[in-house]
Amino acid sequence: MKFFENIYTYDYSFPAVSLAYFLRYPNPYSRHVLTTDVIDRYVDPNTHRLHTTRIHLKKSKVPSGILKLLPKGIGGSDSSGQSYILETTIVDVKEGWMESESRNMEWTGILSVVEKQHYQRQPMEGALQKLEGLSLDDKRNEQTTVKTTVTFRSRFGQGKLLGRRKTEGEYEEEAPKRGFFTSLSTAGIQRTIELIGLNRTRDAILKSKQGMNVVLERLRSGGIVGVLEGMREDREAIVLGGEGPWKRVWMRGHASDDENN
């Protein structure tokens, strides 16, 4: 098992950040997210917490480093280049926090990635703030911290290679490809797969924060309407396949954030 942990602070109020979270796709950094659907949503009558379950369809290829470790025919031919992500969130508006959990729904035997985030209104200490403090608009002095924890776990070689797919009897687990990797133990292969996942995640987490900041800035300057207009432009940019005007504008103002793009 491998872990990744990160703490980040948004210079926006908790209501704005939680709204941006539900509104974050599409954004200029989310070209790989194809669709988003709400599967379940309710307010718990006792706690008044809002529970949401969503499914995102994302473009993703099994990393070539992992492919090399897998038996022939697995991950390669079947891989449609898309994967489902299950996202559950709980918002407690009175206490000013939101918890989210995202996990991959397929290939969980090869690598299960679970991302947990805890968003917390600042300051954390003290009693409940008055509801007047929950305005969406520019409470520029209000901040929201998010703690992100990602867990990587490979069960490769433990007879649970393909998660649900194996139960359908489509594949049988075989020995890994011969060659360099035969020198690795099962535990070694698991560690390698987990490390590849970890490296990809660092980049993904950065992009997701950049995306959130774009949405938050749109929210601040134009409200929900501003976010929706921005989304329209993002969708057009995807259709055109170009980089779109957002990127030039964004890079001019945020050159320092943009070094990885």
């Binding site: 997210v33 659907d37 709400v38 599967i39 307010v43 508006v93 959990e101 996990r103 649900r164 929706l228």
Partner: protein
């Protein structure tokens, strides 16, 4: 708004999403947590999705995911 996995549900999804955003920002975030004025739209949207979720096997995946990670408010409260 983000597209739906089922293209035929995009219209109803957009209506529901718009309703939710309005409710979330104007009611829920301001402490009015009891109303649920988007329920009818959500029911229609869910009905529209059902076929695609079955076809793609997502309903089964959901079932399995739920079994492996039971999380309720009660458990959450115990943890914190």
């Amino acid at each position: 708004m983000a597209a739906s996995i089922a293209p035929e549900c995009n219209d109803i999804k957009e209506k529901y999403d718009t309703c939710f955003l309005k409710w979330y920002s104007e009611k829920y975030l301001r402490g009015n947590t009891t109303s649920n004025e988007c329920e009818d739209l959500f029911a229609k949207y869910k009905t529209c999705l059902t076929k695609t979720l079955k076809e793609r096997g997502i309903d089964n995946m959901l079932e399995e995911a739920r079994k492996s990670t039971p999380e309720t408010d009660a458990e959450y409260n115990r943890r914190t």
